[in-house]
């Protein structure tokens, strides 16, 4: 943990108390870029680090300072550990009084309605942005490549001079443009510091090869990011700086490179034609960049570390897919990115390939070979479904074809502030609330709608009550998401990001204030399979077979199936489970997700945009599972929920085609904010040419059946158990957790177990 950024921010906030927040934050970021210690790590070819030490995390005191109460646990806690030097602890304690009462979390606590606080406490809702910045965005990287900071400065001047002094928002716009200019200067100075450092290091370097590399870095930084990039090296360096700086501006997750192979390829091709770079050099540079993505770390509170276990930073880099004309866009860089993923094999970037009906066979084969290499990436997305889903939300076809995933696989387009993680709704909790009329079974606290009855005569009656609980939860999460927008606008505007998201400069308005062209908010449903399996078990147990009464089941769940193993086994083994292509339960999943989608369609968000649904969980299925009682599907109290739209671990007993068929019955096309489906495949499938060709066929099937997202874990259970016992020998083992990959031995025991469970269902 480092606190140089925190010290500078504290100083600026103190010195500029009277300045508007936008300007205050712009000055603080500029000063950080100008003053935080910098370094160029040995052998690296790309300059720029997010912290003042290698693989470290800076503190964002304006977001959260309360974590200081947990500071002594950071080195030993289960998730996302950080070493905290004594000097850092001391400085943080010194600044604590200034920030206490002023942070994001403090503001939430002050104005959040009680019923929503209770729903959060009960684990029905969860809001990641109470503890972190927003982000979840892909900025317009081509802008830094084609215009440079100088071009952007000109743009700012032009737009600013267009605002008449009589404009009702003149002063706000003025502040916004001033902040924008501050930041342009900050970027220029930041890059210049690295150039001087590289030059200095080169002058004292004895190793000739390294000396040359350092001069190369200095040379590149002479032109970018001020001017348009002239070659591939400059393009990579300019890209990295604008990928990096937003992560110093805010500690939001999932700042995503987007369609990297599309906007970078022209630079590479031109260099190759002019023989300015060899393919090997270009590949090495790209491998270096893939490593750089792993440097982004966050200071997580214990709770948010649970949700983002494995140092997730969600930088989603996507290649392949169709272009804006609908034709296949595979190019040289598509293949090179797959090779870099194979070379580096770490947890970042979150690597995605877009598939469509015309994806070349050769690319499919490369994808499968890469998946089998061990880090579970790339994950795949289906253009055929996703483009349609965006069109149905009103995005023009040409823009929809150019979509990109951020974070796990939250779909956005250009000029879009998607606010993709507008908060989680725990579907499994809704079952508790329906059984107990608005009170949960975990603490017997009120968390939902009190409808005045819990004695249902038919399953239809039960479902009516359940759907009411669901709608109520959606409305509460919408309120929470809007509150989040409002608080972030007031406390954590993002002037740097706003430079790169159209139409912020045109409108003179920050992204958090609705400056983007497209404004949406994603609301995320968690535990779909646990919920569907629970509902079908209730239907069978209580209504169809009438084995027990609902109030008896309630007691059993409260007591976590104590002395009820027989019943639990009966439920586990005799009732249908989502993921086996059984209509009875799949239809329930479709029905309640439709209610979820319908309810969201009714409202507009804080920035007057749409709410977009999602069915993923990052690793919230662990955190929310913690506070969920035993469920009627046989799951024990506090165990993880099903993740994303994946069938419950171990319950998909009929293999990947049946699982895919179940998933495709849900109206995925209505959930453009993202769907996550994990698939475990045994390693031996990939041992032969024949096996690889069959997995390619599976990917084609995924496109044809109208899947949304698919990702794979290819590790055998034996390896995972061994890693659990001897973590020191498996430090490099990377597994797929949810929408991202993580280093296995860095996960908690519980998270590890949940992955092992996932594997134990042998196909």
């Amino acid at each position: 943990m480092c606190c140089d950024r925190a010290v500078i921010y504290t100083k600026v906030y103190k010195e500029h108390q009277n300045k508007p927040i936008l300007l205050k934050r712009a000055i603080a970021l500029r000063e950080t870029l100008e003053k935080m210690p910098i370094f160029i790590w040995e052998s690296e070819l790309i300059a720029g680090h997010p912290a003042s030490l290698p693989r470290s995390a800076e503190v964002f005191p304006e977001v959260n300072i309360g974590f200081i109460s947990e500071i002594d646990e950071f080195e030993t806690r289960e998730y996302n550990r950080l070493i905290v030097p004594f000097s850092v602890k001391k400085q943080l304690l010194e600044m604590q009084p200034f920030w206490t009462g002023k942070t994001l979390h403090d503001r939430f606590s002050a104005i959040r309605p009680t019923e929503i606080s209770m729903a959060i406490k009960a684990g029905l809702l969860s809001n990641p942005h109470e503890w972190s910045g927003l982000a979840h965005v892909s900025i317009d990287y081509s802008k830094i490549l084609t215009k440079g900071i100088n071009g952007i400065l000109k743009e700012i001047e032009l737009f600013q001079s267009d605002v008449p002094i009589t404009d009702p928002d003149y002063s706000e716009k003025f502040v916004f443009y001033e902040a924008a200019k501050e930041l342009c200067n900050g970027v220029v100075n930041f890059a210049e510091r690295y150039r001087l450092l590289a030059e200095h290091m080169a002058s004292v370097e004895i190793n000739e090869a390294r000396k040359k590399e350092l001069y190369q870095i200095a040379k590149v930084l002479k032109n970018v990011p001020f001017n348009p990039a002239q070659n591939f090296r400059e393009a990579i360096q300019a890209f990295w700086l604008v990928q990096l700086i937003p992560q110093i501006e805010s500690n939001g997750f999932s700042i995503s490179p987007g369609r990297f192979d599309q906007y970078m390829e022209p630079y590479l091709v031109r260099d190759l034609e002019r023989e300015q770079i060899t393919l090997d050099e270009a590949q090495e540079l790209l491998d270096n960049l893939f490593l750089k993505f792993c440097e982004i770390l966050r200071v997580d509170t214990r709770a948010s570390a649970e949700v983002n276990a494995g140092y997730a930073s969600g930088q989603n880099l996507v290649v392949g897919g169709i272009n804006s004309e609908g034709l296949d866009s595979t190019n040289l860089l598509t293949a090179m990115c797959i090779i870099s993923n194979y070379h580096v094999r770490l947890h970042q970037p979150n690597f995605t390939v877009r598939l469509h009906k015309g994806t070349p066979e050769r690319l499919l084969k490369m994808i499968v070979e890469s998946i089998s290499c061990g880090n579970g990436m790339p994950q795949v997305l289906n253009d055929e479904l996703i483009v349609t889903s965006l069109q149905e939300k009103g995005i023009p076809l040409i823009e929809a074809r150019d979509y990109l995933p951020v974070g796990c696989d939250e779909i956005t387009v250009a000029k879009h502030w998607g606010r993709c993680n507008g908060g989680y709704i725990n579907f499994a909790k809704l079952v508790e609330l329906t059984i107990n009329d608005g009170y949960d079974l975990f603490n017997e606290q009120k968390a939902g709608l009190k409808q005045g009855y819990d004695n249902y005569h038919t399953f239809d009656e039960f479902m009516t009550a359940f759907n009411n609980q669901l709608r109520n939860a959606v409305r509460m999460q919408i309120s929470e998401a809007n509150l989040t927008d409002s608080i972030h606008k007031n406390l954590l505007p993002l002037p740097f990001l706003s430079l790169f998201i159209d139409d912020c400069l045109l409108k003179g308005r920050d992204v958090t204030e609705g400056g983007a062209h497209y404004n949406t908010t994603g609301i995320v449903g968690v535990g779909s399979a646990t919920c569907a399996d629970s509902l079908v078990a209730i239907e069978r147990l209580v209504f169809k077979e009438q084995r027990i009464k609902l109030h008896e089941l309630k007691k059993i769940l409260i007591n976590d199936y104590e002395n009820q193993e027989e019943l639990r086994q009966h439920i586990l083994n005799k009732y249908p489970k989502f993921g086996n292509d059984i209509d009875e339960v799949d239809q329930l999943a479709r029905d309640f997700t439709d209610v979820f989608f319908d309810e969201l369609d009714k409202y507009r968000n804080y920035r007057n945009g749409q709410f977009w649904p999602a069915l993923y969980s990052v690793s919230a299925q662990v955190g929310l599972g913690n506070s969920t009682s035993a469920t009627p599907d046989g799951r024990h109290r506090s165990m993880p929920l099903s993740d994303g739209l994946t069938p419950m671990y171990g319950m998909d007993r009929k293999g990947p085609t049946a699982s895919l068929s179940s998933v495709a019955k849900v109206a995925l096309v209505r959930a453009p904010n993202g769907v996550i489906v994990n698939q475990r495949l045994t390693a031996n499938l990939f041992n032969s040419e024949e096996g690889i060709s069959k997995i390619c066929m599976l990917l084609k099937s995924f496109v044809n059946i109208n899947g949304f997202h698919w990702q794979f874990n290819i590790v055998d259970n034996k390896t995972l158990l061994m890693a659990q016992e001897n973590p020191e020998n498996f430090r490099g083992l990377v597994v797929r957790v949810a929408g991202y990959s993580a280093i296995f031995v860095e996960l908690s025991k519980k998270a590890q177990d949940s992955i092992i469970d996932r594997y134990s269902a042998n196909i």
């Binding site: 086994q569 009966h570 049946a658 099937s701 196909i763």
Partner: protein, 305 residues
């Protein structure tokens, strides 16, 4: 055409990738005229339903003890029961009440149409992969009219069809089905008739005659040799196999390495394992030796997984 014909199957397995082209769904028909010593699906041999008991997942809840009308189940120890096979009449009542699935039935009487409805669910996978339906067993030809209707309906749906057969069937039965079969995976256990009888219970005369006739038709046939270390792999047997391939004009074969999946199933059926347990490493090596011998003698061979 009669969609209501019923037959006995013991499993429908989706996403199978080693039993024909593309992604396949396998329908396992129950009943087999052979009794191979190493059989890995012993529950496939008898045509009638059988009770399987998996002691490792039993929790000893004793529900089955009282329900069994024949009183065929007794309590063994804290988490196991004992099934008296001489009393059990496979009524299945215990199975429906067993919470863990430790007791289950091998075999299910199903109509042709219900099976077709189930395999149709995989149409998109067949179409995406050039796959289809594989009928295996047991010996699928042992339920001739059931199989015939299944094949015919699959072709009507446009599905690629494959048969995995031991080759033991009346020729007229095979011939009748041929128009609806795209690929025949024909297992040959041993070239020598006497030894064949010793290890499978029947001689190979009819099997070889069927193979010979099949090869005269336009049918697409792939001969597969299951490797049983110590039984069909010595040099003499390899030579006999080779002579047979030459005589029949067989240029390509597939080699199936032995595996031990079957061992636990004998226990579940309450039967002793008839073969000797074979080490897997031994099987792999033997398969490779067999493969090399065939390649050296001009037969194209491939080891399956």
């Amino acid at each position: 055409m009669n969609k209501d014909i019923r037959g006995v199957i013991f499993d429908i397995q989706r996403f199978s990738i080693h039993d024909g082209p593309g992604i396949r769904t396998i329908v396992f028909l129950k009943g087999c005229p052979l009794r191979c010593l190493w059989c890995s699906n012993p529950e496939s041999q008898a045509t009638q339903l059988e009770l399987l008991y998996n002691s490792s997942i039993c929790i000893g809840c004793k529900k089955c003890l009282n329900i069994c009308p024949q009183k065929a189940i007794t309590f063994l120890n804290h988490d196991n029961v004992l099934v008296d096979r001489s009393k059990c009449d496979v009524c299945g009542i215990c199975v429906s009440e067993c919470p863990t699935g430790a007791l289950r039935l091998a075999g299910e009487v199903r109509s042709v149409s219900s099976i077709i409805e189930e395999v149709k669910r995989d149409r998109v996978f067949f179409e995406s992969s050039g796959g289809g339906v594989t009928f295996s067993g047991g010996e699928p030809f042992a339920q001739p009219s059931f199989l015939y209707e299944l094949l015919k309906l699959c072709k009507l749906e446009g599905f690629h069809t494959t048969i995995e057969t031991s080759g033991k069937a009346r020729w007229t039965v095979m011939e009748h089905s041929l128009p609806y079969i795209d690929l025949i995976l024909f297992d040959l256990k041993h070239p020598n008739s006497q030894i064949h009888a010793d290890i499978t219970g029947i001689s190979n005369t009819e099997i070889l005659s069927n193979l010979n006739k099949l090869l005269q038709t336009k049918a697409s046939v792939l001969v597969r040799i299951p490797i049983i270390p110590g039984i069909n792999t010595n040099l003499e047997t390899r030579k006999d196999f080779l002579n047979l391939f030459r005589e029949f004009g067989i240029k390509t074969i597939e080699i199936l390495p032995y595996h031990i999946y079957g061992v636990q199933k004998y226990e579940m059926l309450g039967r002793p394992y008839p073969g000797n347990e074979i080490e897997l490493d031994e099987s792999k090596e033997t398969a490779i030796e067999f493969y090399q011998y065939m390649i050296q003698n001009g037969v194209t061979a491939k080891i399956s997984h």
